[in-house]
Subunit: 575 residues, 2 copies
């Protein structure tokens, strides 16, 4: 007699996002799960998990009705794109699309229009779901995408459709209303593709990266598990009682994983549309937000906000800062205002889903002084458990852990992309010798912490030497008169390139260009952190430093308008 | 041109135990990782992670030299058995064997000898590694296993081999000494089999269950992640600074996962050989143990220990109790002695690797009173995130969550076994309709907590009614004069079966058989927890209740010697 077994329900039980979606619905059906505040109208939308789930089921049925076809492991499902901010609807799309077997393509709406058009046509998006606020943007590219995109869905808090040239336009809320609140989620393979993200394309066109359910499941699970490893004495454990506000855009590499791990944890997710200071403060107060991750720029905006004192921000016990060096002046100010503040760094990129390296206090450090711990927290950190990270020299050998030698970061593991979408040649540039090559440079210190040195392309080549611009930026950030600082290479007849420092002073400061050089000389050269020839040859004091869509200094933008910055720059002629 | 990709280092990066083994070695090479105290000699053996790792590499080389052959996903590697207590050597075997591609079979040395012989021959163990203490046991079964087992390895803290009839006998420490401390761990598939465990075989012969690397990896990762979900206000987060003592035998279903998740976390693991009260107390004091999981019987032994006050047990901040109802008298006593004490329940079985259901405080309960929280913690609990648990009726439909209806627990998920080893027929008895059927009964309350009612075979069938013996045991445990209580069914001419309660009184108590019935009447019948006809018809007061290898009441043993218990029993003739 022949007996059957059920590997698909046991040893090969699939690691799929459907498991994440279902958990809060089963455990906390009647607890508030998703809060969205429209940052324009100030209106709140609150959903219990069961309400959110039923909307997601309706959406899955609507995708069916719109004719979106699911895929198979070796054949991606049809692409459904979003042009949307951090709203409950976007979170519904984050589950309805992948869990019904299609591929979610969250479009980074801060890219150049040409790049947005490229990603839509390259992805062959079949449907685009877009926010009412982004209607003008969709209209402006409509003629260049209408042959690719068959249907458009308009998402708004207000009923009705706008007058527009866009054809085949549907209304999100109406679509949902027409469908059943029940949906039979099909049994997916964990190798089914779930999302398609594009790189920001600092050089050339954005490249597409598809992630499988397995990759996203495993990244989330390892990141959640990592919380259990944490030794940092400032860490306060709240379990499912944390209330995170997701400020990182959902269109920016899965908002670093937030829509996945927070849903699986079943915590209340607060979505602010897009970041505004008053929206931030109000949401913290009304929703008792405990946890946010921000870039330094957002902190600066907060502290400059005149009405800050009117809000009760005391629930905030975990504010982590990443994505750039944290200026000391800013840090001190924030520490006086927000009790749970910690600066901590991390590293990742689109190709790695993204999180791979995070700040980490080692277990023998827990009784170190606050100052020493702060230093540890702003080192880029250690690999997330479950992923392999190495820093290698030109021969592919690991560099010595001497806090000096610089090598390239290479990564492999279950949430690293296998290939660029429809681009085998670019894939072969980064995937060889069994490792994914990031193109980013780092050193490793004696305690095995990886410290990002620079993008390979951001290294300033001065003579035969390399000036790591991040090193100078991090040093400059320590000056108590500086609010923001970046360093770029500018052409030089003698040296090939020389360093230009661009700084924004703290409000009220009367410091001059020379003061930066003096500071770098004392804190950098004399303390052996940099050599004298690394000192910037040019310094420009500006009112605003351009930022990328994630709040990092936009060096590409600066280089585009280099003449403008050179005109403002003062020649230091030192040495 | 043909470009290659690397799915084996990205999307299909394998989930294998090698990743767990390597993490502490990379992060904490020079921290003490493994402490073993020989419970006979009292000697300590301490190993840094790098020392432990090098020994594990030597062992992997030795396995090679012994001719142990690795397997493939569809073909298990050769079986390497252990007959060993909780020692550093056993932990070395836990990694060297599976990570080199062979299958580890930890023999439950508390099984009947016939059953041990059966598992060895059924598993076709090629090598057995055994502790010096277990030499007499190996000798006693030698003639019945020597045709199967080709080689034996003797593990001892003392050098030299004993005089014995066992042929092909090797010395563990000598084997290691002869090998290189370097080993190239091969690239394994996550579907490679890692371990082979046998059920305790309460009915019939023990059945074999093989687990893949993937199953064990995913169980551990979900259990670690689960810690991040915890809302229990008594939970103290220590991260990698917890110091667990592993009391559950490593031969008992992976000691509930301890050798896997604690190594991946890189925490210091304390191994006591086997449990003794003085060993326990000394290890807590010297190693500053923070975390233990025990069965109620061990707590009772501790509290009865006359020298308890001589030890400093203040480091113990997380003592969880499972595997049986916790008598109230015992609970109160422990709470006065051990600050971090919490009673919490859980559920699992060999076939599920084992952990599947654990006590859980829901997020809206965190401000409940201690008494109410204690009630929540001793309900069996909720499914571990990542696994599906249902309680179904005879038609396979989920039962109502009414805290009343009883159904069968069915489970599916990535760490549920696919099949019994070489036993398709038994497999088909438990795996059908897409679910693994546990044969255990439970009800579900209004808050979706699953509460184990009984083994199907432990249900007492009295007339047309079913008396759930666990319900009676849990109730009896609440009496402040009772130290231990169990209930079994005995044959009855009229009713088919009737309930016999067997109790052990708290030392010094002068209560009588009638007092139990009176207590059950007041706390059970009058409060509507049981009906009158469920009251035991017979009560026996005894000095000792027999226990299984994991400290549960051994009903099989009781039924074997039923005449003896019936002779002691008093007929209650109530009702």
């Amino acid at each position: 007699m022949e007996y059957r077994t059920y590997p698909e329900f046991s040893t090969h039980y699939p690691l799929i996002l459907t498991t994440f979606m279902k958990r809060p619905v089963e455990i906390y059906p009647n607890e508030i799960g998703v809060v969205y505040r429209n940052h324009v109208s100030g209106e709140y939308h609150r959903f219990t998990w069961i309400e959110w789930y039923k909307r997601t089921c309706r959406l899955a049925n609507a995708l069916n009705s719109l004719g979106v076809k699911p895929g198979k492991p070796d054949e991606p499902g049809e692409r459904v794109a979003t042009m949307a901010l951090n709203t409950h609807r976007h979170l519904e799309l984050y589950y309805a699309v992948p869990c019904s077997g299609a591929v979610l393509h969250p479009i980074n709406v801060r890219l150049a229009l040409d790049h947005i058009v490229h990603t839509i046509n390259h992805a062959e998006d079949k449907v685009i779901f877009f926010d009412d606020l982004l209607l003008p943007m969709v209209e402006s590219i409509y003629d260049r995408i209408k042959n690719t995109v068959k249907k458009f869905v308009y998402m708004s808090d207000k009923p009705g459709l706008p007058v527009t040239k866009i054809e085949n336009l549907y209304e999100y809320e109406l679509l949902l209303k027409q469908e059943s609140e029940k949906f039979e989620w099909s049994y997916l393979s964990e190798d089914n593709y779930a999302t398609l993200c594009y790189t920001t394309g600092t050089t050339g066109l954005p490249k597409g990266v598809m992630f499988t359910h397995r990759a996203l499941y495993l990244q989330s699970l390892h990141l959640i598990a990592r919380t259990s490893f944490v030794n940092d004495p400032t860490y306060i454990h709240l379990g499912e009682n944390i209330v995170p506000m997701v400020i990182t855009p959902l269109f920016h590499i899965h908002a670093w994983g937030a829509p996945f791990f927070y849903v699986f944890m079943g915590v209340k997710l607060v979505l602010p549309g897009t970041f505004t200071v008053e929206g931030f403060c109000e949401l913290v107060q009304t929703e008792k937000v405990t946890t946010v991750a921000v870039v330094p720029t957002i902190l600066a905006l907060l502290l400059e906000y005149k009405d800050l004192d009117k809000y009760d921000l005391s629930s905030l016990i975990s504010v982590s800062v990443g994505g750039g060096a944290l200026p000391l002046g800013l840090k001190t100010k924030v520490e006086n205002r927000i009790p749970g503040f910690t600066a901590s760094s991390g590293y990742g990129m689109t190709e790695t889903a993204p999180v791979t390296i995070m700040a980490f206090v080692k277990k023998y450090m827990t009784d170190w002084s606050k100052e020493k711990l702060d230093e540890v927290r702003v080192k880029t950190g250690m690999s997330v458990p479950g992923i392999e990270v190495e820093v290698i020299d030109e021969n592919g050998k690991p560099i010595p852990h001497d806090n000096k030698t610089i090598g390239q970061i290479v990564i492999r593991g279950p949430w690293v992309m296998e290939k660029y979408y429809k681009n085998p040649e670019k894939t072969s540039n980064v995937w060889y010798d069994e490792w994914f090559h990031t193109g980013d440079l780092a050193k490793v210190d004696e305690e095995d912490f990886i410290i990002i040195a620079d993008r390979m392309s951001d290294i300033i080549r001065s003579g035969s030497e390399m000036v790591p611009s991040i090193l100078l930026e991090n040093l400059a950030a320590l000056a108590d008169f500086i609010l923001e600082a970046t360093v770029v290479g500018v052409p030089d007849e003698v040296w090939g390139e020389k360093a230009l420092a661009i700084i924004k002073l703290l409000p009220g400061s009367d410091k001059k260009e020379e003061d930066l050089i003096e500071f770098l000389r004392i804190e950098g050269v004399e303390k052996g952190k940099i050599t004298k020839w690394m000192l910037p040859k040019l310094v420009a004091i500006v009112d605003e430093i351009p930022k990328t869509s994630v709040g990092k200094y936009n060096k590409r933008e600066i280089k585009k308008n280099l003449a403008e910055y050179l005109a403002k720059a003062k020649d230091m002629k030192q040495g």
